[in-house]
Symmetry: C2
Subunit: 336 residues, 2 copies
């Protein structure tokens, strides 16, 4: 039996720019009603002007597909006037610790100095989206960062706070302590652990940040998502890199999952007997938390197996070469 | 002031075969008086005939360098006669769990069935060298395997047992419980953690098995080695792969450290103010545990900085491009 998804949303998405934008955005536009677009371009999207220019570039690529790009602003010190001007054009402000992931060098170096801007976000009711990792040991970075989340949640109790791409059982536990906090979960962190990356041969193609953690962590994420946790939202963190950046020594972190996200989620939820919770995870929870009304779009998933291509253009997708038991009707841009 | 090392030994070494043997063995032969040669060739070294053939191939490569190859036999079911015949030609028998690392497919699948052969090793006083990892989660494999070590140590109390290339604080603690157990420690596990491999860009060149663990684990190894633990022996686990196996998607595990091992160890011990414990770690502890008398060879280390080449032939060495503050007098085969 087909699954009909009402207005699926990808609440954490890297569309890149230039040629790569042209390659990858159509995949998201074909399968999602909208997506939260991350601002960590080579030049961070950190002004109203840049938000508008990036939105225009995305619109030019996605055309009339009915895809709503929910723009984000790169966190730095902003004035009240800055934020008031940009507020209607963004869904939130995205905070990166400096240097923690791809193109995050302009991020926060001193968390003691972010209070004034965060207070403005709370006052203006602009959500704060956070890449929550310290610079500590790679397997412990997210858990160590929970103290920053706690400080934010306690100091700014009316701030809507999003823990992005959570990967640990500890983050799930933390989420339950604060009603104003939500989190995104990727597809790949529901499927893989560090074992898949480094347990056999080293798999550059699925190397990502935050790094995939332990089986216990993955199970905690799965359990919460499949049980229909009301503040967990799907965010693919689809982050394409061209082959030469994945295959070189010193491989870039990122998994391009946009083309496979909904089919693989359908397979996961159906096999677990939890298909009734998929619509909340991929749409309703996000609409409720962010108070958004995306353009209506129904996506039909069919239980028809397909083999994920080895590459789309110069990008290896997540699950390349694997067979997925569910497919999206008319899933791909016309050139593929 | 120069450091003079009396008869340095590398107690865990992959010399490979064919062209690769010709490339890498001279590095070990130039800097070490002898080394324990691992038997996991494409065709495992699992008979007297193969031990002799492999020894001859190594001798042909190392010539008159005064390098003693201490041969090992790949663990499988052996009869008392098999082992009695080969005993004088080997230093020990090397056990691999099946499929746990490079060319280990012929290893042990069922530990309940190894008792008879292990009893023979105990009776004949042939040391058992073990790659101690389960097939569990990559960061926990060594710790999970400690129960097998415990069973071996308790069931065969006169067996000389070597925990190869240990990487965890738990292994150090275990070692102190059984006097008849020793362990090898690599250079790279004294220097790196998982952070170095996967904390920034993904570093295929230093991807190894067992995977490098946490800072706490590395610190425990360092502390025990630098304090002169009498049953810790240096074993490089130098494991060269040609570039195409390290740079491809699905990268092979192994670090080629033979050319840099003694200089980097000298630097580590001297900087920690523990130079007096280096001779035991790289020679005396192994001579005592294995009761061997290698051909005398003095190696002179000088406090002269040198830059590690990016490649030796088709192999990227450990610490490629880095500067080491100590060098071995006449360290390299003549062609480099």
């Amino acid at each position: 039996m087909d699954l009909l998804l009402d207005t699926p949303l990808d609440m954490h998405l890297h569309l890149r720019e230039g040629e790569m934008l042209g390659l990858v955005a159509p995949f998201s536009a074909a399968q999602f009603a909208g997506g939260v677009v991350m601002p960590n371009l080579v030049q961070p999207v950190d002004s109203l002007e840049r938000v508008r220019a990036y939105r225009a570039a995305i619109a030019a690529t996605c055309g009339t597909t009915g895809f709503a790009p929910y723009m984000t602003l790169f966190f730095r010190d902003y004035t009240s006037q800055d934020l008031a001007e940009v507020k209607d054009e963004i869904i939130g402000v995205k905070l990166y610790p400096a240097g923690i992931t791809t193109q995050s060098e302009a991020g926060v170096r001193d968390f003691d100095r972010i209070g004034a801007t965060v207070a403005l976000l709370e006052e203006l009711d602009i959500p704060l989206l956070v890449h929550g990792e310290t610079g500590g040991f790679v397997m412990e970075r997210e858990q160590e960062f929970l103290k920053v989340y706690q400080w934010l949640a306690e100091t700014f109790p009316r701030l809507r706070l999003v823990m992005e791409h959570i990967t640990t059982a500890a983050a799930i536990e933390f989420l339950d302590r604060f009603d104003q906090v939500a989190a995104t979960v990727t597809l790949h962190h529901l499927l893989i652990t560090l074992d898949d990356i480094a347990g056999g041969l080293l798999r550059q193609d699925i190397f990502c940040k935050p790094i995939a953690k332990t089986p216990r962590d993955r199970d905690a994420l799965r359990q919460a998502v499949l049980a229909g946790h009301p503040r967990l939202m799907f965010g693919s963190d689809s982050a394409p890199h061209p082959r030469h950046k994945k295959e070189r020594l010193g491989c870039a972190a990122g998994v391009f999952s946009a083309p496979v996200a909904l089919p693989a989620l359908a397979e996961l939820f159906v096999e677990a007997g939890c298909a009734e919770h998929l619509p909340a995870f991929v749409s309703a929870n996000a609409r409720s938390f962010y108070r958004i009304e995306p353009p209506a779009k129904t996506v039909r998933l069919e239980p028809i197996a397909w083999r994920v291509p080895d590459r789309y253009g110069e990008v290896t997708p997540f699950l390349a070469g694997k067979t997925i038991g569910w497919g999206v009707k008319a899933p791909h841009p016309s050139q593929f």
